[in-house]
């Protein structure tokens, strides 16, 4: 048996130190009673900093044999080096929550997890990026007004500190000064285009845009080159509701602002006409909210982590009671909710929902109860794993080639968005992104990086090492730095610009 304890700092913390022995002991006892071959078991312990998440305190992740899934049937056998460690299952502990349980409760949880959890699946096994949790995430942004009405607070209030890091005047002035310097250089060579494009992906309530534009006008007055006259500021967001709010915020700049509803994973679908023309792309808290898979290098073999969303049986019973549906019919209401949204769901299923408020309540209860089961499936080859439709998993090789055990997010949505956005940049352009990044593969061995639930959305820390690697392979210098304009934040600033 292999025990992988990731949150090392919790063992020797001066406050709230974890007594891992008290957690591990009962779990090992349960494993001993339930498993025939402990040599093929991994125990992995995380500290889930998101109190709202998709995990039980104790869960089991089986290892699926190569060739056992449909996806592998067409391929030749995957060569298996003799040094590969074959495991049957991984038992995952959230040591934060386990610390609150006594030994019999832990033993009981572990035993039940090993025998098979009493969950009602909402979907089949598949890539996590294709799970219905992303349907919930999309619904949150599409029906944000209804969610906010129900919770009584705006989504910005759900952010740490109650506001986005984007609305920072010093940061905006810094960006504008860099833009002006680049434009001055181009103007000297008679190479400054007549239209100067700035794109913002994920606009929030428009405050960032307003701060930027106000500061731009002030700097332009001082500078005297009349760049504001040539400026086109493009606000882009997935949510038309959010865009509408943002447009009102920047009403005084409306001659220079356009807004686009777009999917952040493929900005070129709406902005293709700006290829190589954008001088600044500004992104704040978008990537951590885009679909992702996870891959794992364990015992010398690379696995894809498959998942399926499910609901605990008691939650299904409760949802059935509140909607007047039979418990077995509750799972069918979920895809209907995701397809129609709460407003139309109330109309489509009047027997279960008295009105929109009831449908929103069903949405929120389901979301709160939602869990993800996981399993490991060997990858037949990195190049056979599509990181995005255009990028193969081969890009992961430098991150995995050391061969050490690691499980990490591959941030498919962020990768697609980042790579697609780079093609918009002018040779003198810059991409600036504030978000939650893991900037060192080693960090995946010591900390939990998601998924967590953030209000009604999904949050994952973004694989910054992978983005940097992909950026470099596309001719960009990618740098990370702690967000410079607020102390004590987890936010990291990514900056990308053309090198060579």
């Amino acid at each position: 048996m292999l025990v992988d304890f990731r949150p090392h700092t919790r063992l020797c913390a001066t406050r709230d130190a974890v007594d891992f022995g008290a957690t591990l002991g009962p779990v090992v006892e349960a494993l001993g009673a339930e498993c025939t071959d402990l040599a093929r078991v991994r125990v992995v312990a995380d500290w889930l900093q998101y109190r709202a998440n998709f995990r039980e305190p104790v869960t089991v992740r089986p290892f699926v044999a190569a060739g056992a899934t449909d996806a592998d049937m067409a391929h030749d056998p995957v060569p298996k080096p003799p040094t590969v460690r074959d495991d049957d299952l991984e038992l995952a502990l959230d040591v934060r929550r386990c610390a609150g349980l006594d030994a019999p409760a832990l033993r009981d949880l572990a035993r039940r997890a090993i025998r098979g959890s009493d969950h009602v699946p909402l979907e089949g096994w598949g890539r996590m990026s294709e799970s219905c949790i992303w349907g919930f995430n999309a619904l949150y942004w599409q029906a944000l007004d209804l969610w906010e009405q129900a919770t009584g607070r705006s989504y910005e209030q759900a952010l740490p500190g109650g506001e986005s890091d984007a609305r920072n005047r010093a940061g905006a002035r810094e960006l504008i000064a860099e833009l002006f310097a680049a434009w001055d250089r181009l103007a000297e060579r008679n190479a400054l285009p007549p239209e100067l494009y700035v794109v913002e992906l994920g606009v929030g309530n428009g405050t960032q845009a307003k701060v930027f534009l106000d500061e731009f006008v002030a700097a332009d007055h001082e500078h005297g080159h009349e760049y504001y006259r040539r400026l086109h500021y493009l606000m882009c967001d997935y949510s038309s509701y959010v865009l509408e709010l943002a447009r009102k915020t920047v009403a005084e700049h409306d001659q220079h602002v356009s807004s686009f509803v777009l999917d952040a994973t493929s900005p070129r679908t709406a902005l293709g006409f700006l290829k190589y023309k954008v001088f600044l792309v500004y992104i704040s808290n978008v990537y951590d909210n885009l679909p992702t898979d996870e891959v794992a290098q364990l015992g010398g073999r690379t696995y894809g982590v498959q998942s399926r969303a499910c609901l605990p049986r008691p939650a299904v019973d409760e949802l059935a009671a509140t909607t007047g549906a039979e418990p077995e019919r509750v799972p069918a209401l979920v895809p209907k909710l995701l397809r129609l949204g709460p407003a139309l769901l109330a109309e489509a299923a009047p027997d279960h929902f008295g009105g929109v408020e009831d449908a929103v309540a069903f949405w929120r209860r389901t979301w709160a109860a939602l869990r993800l089961e996981e399993r490991y499936v060997p990858l037949a080859g990195l190049d056979l794993y599509p990181l995005t439709p255009e990028i193969s998993g081969e890009s992961l090789r430098p991150l995995l080639e050391a061969g050490a055990d690691v499980r990490m997010h591959v941030s498919n949505g962020a990768v697609a968005s980042f790579v697609d956005t780079l093609t918009l940049l002018h040779p003198f352009g810059t991409l600036v992104c504030h978000d939650l990044f893991v900037t060192d593969v080693q960090a995946y061995r010591t900390r939990f990086a998601g998924p967590g639930k953030y209000d009604g959305s999904v949050v994952n820390w973004v694989n910054g090492t992978l983005l940097a690697h992909l950026g470099r392979r596309r001719g960009f210098e990618v740098a990370y730095a702690p967000f410079a304009h607020r102390d004590g934040t987890n936010v990291v600033t990514l900056t990308a610009h053309v090198r060579d």
């Binding site: 040779p427 392979r473 001719g475 060579d500």
Partner: protein, 349 residues
């Protein structure tokens, strides 16, 4: 032959070859093994061009890690503080801490590269190499009082290569200057260096100027008007330019600037994997024919194909050939069926 088709130089580098090249720079694949891989890949690249119907082929520049290091790192006197690379395509940091030694003949091995290609195809061959101006831009530190002097010294090195290439039978050489568009005010120095390279080398010379193709991105933006009038002094037979991606609004610049020699007309956007149609190619050629007579047009992609997936590159060349054939059919019966490799300008000073 009217409207001969050709390539600018480079051929797609597939992922597996990138891995092998990178492994070489990390010491996992020997030089001999990598050379063998390159030989095999080059033969395949030549065959692909032949199958696509391209009239004048290249070796795909597949031996080169990028457009600079293959040359610069071999120049006697050039120093590489670090000779390993994280990725083969990265540029070395290069310095010239002391004056380069006098040139005593070819030292870069380009003639051998040409000879290998010659041995594997019966078609005319274009052999290209990066020009002295662009090579000099990648030197981080040097001992010369001005960069122009470094450009001059590198031109002498390349001149020796050109002499050796011609001696081995090369008839069509091309100087690539991918950095020139980023330094338009230095066009005079660049042309002077080009003339040093071609001096007395009696082949058909092309000069390729684009807006950069590193990682399939333009490194600069602008217009070709910066080339004139200085480029008129360049003793080259052909200007090879990109028009496929940028559109042909710069074509009149050639006529207004007084360019009366051949034009390598870029009709394929190498920065976009989407494959053009033969009709698009034909239209691009027809628009060019309004300004340049068919006798002076050579049809090629905008730049090297290295950043494209191989299947897309093959498809793009095929439509380039098909589109060209459509236009040829409208130009009357062919006056010749072979490619003319004769120089049109005297290269001797």
């Amino acid at each position: 032959m009217l409207l001969p088709t050709t390539v600018v130089g480079s051929w797609p580098v597939p992922e597996w070859l990138e891995r092998l090249k990178t492994d070489h720079y990390r010491g996992r694949v020997s030089r001999t093994q990598l050379d063998d891989v390159h030989d095999t890949a080059i033969k395949a690249a030549i065959k692909d061009q032949e199958l696509a119907g391209v009239d004048i082929v290249s070796d795909g520049e597949l031996r080169r890690d990028n457009d600079v290091d293959y040359f610069l790192a071999r120049v006697p006197g050039v120093v590489l503080p670090l000779s390993v690379k994280e990725f083969y395509y990265d540029y070395y940091t290069v310095t010239v801490p002391a004056p380069l030694p006098p040139v005593e003949g070819a030292s870069l091995g380009l003639a051998d590269d040409y000879a290998f290609t010659r041995a594997h195809t019966d078609r005319p061959i274009k052999f290209s190499f990066t020009g002295p101006f662009s090579l000099a831009q990648r030197v981080a530190e040097h001992v010369y009082p001005t960069r122009a002097e470094l450009v001059h010294r590198l031109a002498q090195v390349l001149h020796a290569e050109a002499v050796a290439l011609a001696a081995r039978g090369a008839t069509r050489l091309q100087i690539d200057e991918p950095y020139l568009a980023g330094h338009p005010q230095q066009i005079g120095d660049a042309v002077e260096a080009v003339n040093l390279v071609v001096d007395g080398v009696d082949v058909r010379w092309g000069l390729h100027v684009c807006y950069g193709n590193r990682y399939a991105r333009p490194s600069w933006e602008g217009h070709y008007d910066f080339l004139f009038p200085a480029v008129l002094d360049a003793r080259v037979d052909e200007l090879v330019l990109e028009f496929g991606r940028k559109g042909d609004e710069d074509l009149p610049v050639l006529a207004h600037g007084g360019w009366d020699r051949d034009v390598g007309l870029g009709v394929i956007d190498v920065k976009d994997p989407a494959v053009e149609s033969a009709a698009t190619v034909a239209n691009r050629i027809r628009r060019a024919l309004e300004l340049v007579p068919a006798e002076r047009l050579v049809i090629n992609p905008d730049c090297g194909l290295r950043n494209l997936p191989a299947a897309n590159a093959r498809a793009k060349l095929a439509v380039m050939v098909a589109g060209t054939a459509r236009v040829r059919e409208t130009l009357g019966p062919p006056t010749a069926t072979t490619v003319d490799d004769r120089p049109t300008v005297a290269t001797a000073s």
